[in-house]
Symmetry: C2
Subunit: 303 residues, 2 copies
């Protein structure tokens, strides 16, 4: 795998991206009961350029288990909506206070703070609306709502963000927090939604227990590798490519992997996790190829 | 029905309240992955003294259709979680900027702004978690998730709040906005969740199309009456009884029913809507008694 300083990797055009973006566009048309400015802000936040990593994982997991990609599209849209909502709220002045996201002004900068709060709320509600109304059969719809709600909630995504803010406020430099605490935060803050993406795809495809365990194992490792690389990009990335303000972890006095382990060990850890993730999905044979390509992209990406 | 200046009405002890509060308490225990302070703030916002109007409506609608109240409890909890989340976010400095709610400091005052944003997010996610994981069968769980997600989203609750903020910013005194615009805002901001509460109860009970139409008609009228009385309390209520800052609509230059129609006509409108609501549920016979009592309470309440 290429080191972070090598040529910039790219996901090859796999056809997922265009289908995901078209589905997200359709899912956020709304009728006249949605005020025009709110609609514009929701679409600004959701349809911004992005890797669509999480919805890709939903579709790829579904395919790996022999499922129909189109059937999984509502779950793919939902997971991207939850991701976009979490970015909009995390960027708020009371939270991480960021001005730049995906290379553009953050939602509260482009619109205003009240609108950004409402955009996040609307995206979270729409995620469950799309899944509950469109996934078939009802047992899959209910199971997917349960998976995503748990991953978005107080013991996962929201809890991880709260713990992250608490740890930043507690000044990590006193040495009390270590790698295990940092992993525990990221397991919730980044990992839970990535893991849920895999579970959603498997759920739609009617995966076996063995297949689900493989997807979850892959998801846990790729989620952590993703966060380590994110931390590395924050200290060593190109702001134009990353599309957001860099060195902000240091500004916020946040605990990061490079800070605790050094850059080289962090890089080795990301590669090790990626290798493990790819090994876990060997049971899917050639149908695992897109998931393997994605894991390698996550580990070597520049943005 | 008693006028607003008469003796303070109260809902008789109906047994619903204690069961709802016990269920809300159980639903927000969380495991160790939820940071302690976040958990405390979630429970502060959700378990605050309140009328539990919306979960009562869920349970009463279920009973009116001959359903099992216990089966509807996850939906009752979910609707109260969505209501509590909307209050926490609406009270934020960037939104209505309120210090007092239900007689106590608002969530961002008692904790901090970042925590209040996360509390709202966590409550919204938990609402769908509870329903998707606990309602049976899966077809009911999926249908209830769809009903509540739609009512909470950009074309209903969130859209109404956005429209309300826009209208306040546009200075209603120029006379361009009228009763129909005001009703359209409240149909989304307050009405949609009240209407959804009735639909959820009916859905769990497996209501017929005729029963559902009666519940929806009742819900639309009670929802609007509730908002008119809320506006009246803001100009003429007792702050200690209402438990929140009063005259805030005038401070925020907000359009209200008393402002557009005068107090007396507003009061008459609330009574007319309540009478209509009660007439609509006559098809349920004696099983409609709790819903009729609740409608009368809404119309004559002081807080």
């Amino acid at each position: 795998m290429a080191p972070l300083s090598g040529p910039r990797p790219a996901l090859k055009t796999d056809g997922y991206r265009e289908r995901i973006d078209a589905a997200l566009d359709r899912a956020t048309q709304f009728d006249a009961d949605c005020p025009a400015r709110l609609r514009e802000a929701i679409r600004y936040a959701l349809l911004a350029p992005g890797k669509r990593l999480r919805p890709r994982l939903v579709l790829m997991a579904c395919e790996a288990c022999g499922g129909d990609v189109d059937a999984a599209m509502p779950a793919a849209c939902a997971v991207e909506m939850v991701h976009a909502y979490s970015l909009v709220h995390d960027d708020l002045p009371a939270m991480d206070d960021d001005d730049l996201r995906r290379g553009r002004p953050t939602c509260h900068k482009a619109f205003d703070e009240a609108t950004a709060i409402l955009v996040g709320d609307a995206l979270l509600a729409r995620a469950f609306d799309v899944m509950a109304a469109e996934l078939q059969p009802a047992s899959v719809a209910a199971a997917c709502c349960a998976i995503l709600a748990r991953a978005a909630g107080a013991t996962a995504l929201v809890g991880g963000q709260a713990a992250d803010l608490e740890m930043a406020a507690a000044k990590p430099d006193d040495g009390s927090a270590g790698v295990s605490e940092l992993k525990a935060i990221h397991r919730r803050k980044t990992g839970a939604i990535i893991r849920a993406s895999l579970e959603l795809g498997g759920c739609v495809a009617g995966s076996s227990a063995e297949e689900l365990a493989a997807l979850v194992g892959y998801g846990e490792r790729v989620g952590l590798a993703f966060q380590i690389v994110d931390d590395l990009l924050d200290v060593a990335g190109d702001p134009a490519a990353v599309g957001k303000r860099l060195s902000k972890d240091a500004d916020h006095n946040k605990l990061t992997f490079p800070r605790l382990l050094g850059r080289e060990v962090s890089r080795q850890e990301a590669h090790k996790l990626t290798d493990e993730a790819c090994a876990m999905i060997e049971i899917f044979g050639s149908r695992a190829a897109p998931l393997i390509e994605l894991a390698k992209f996550v580990c070597t990406r520049h943005a």
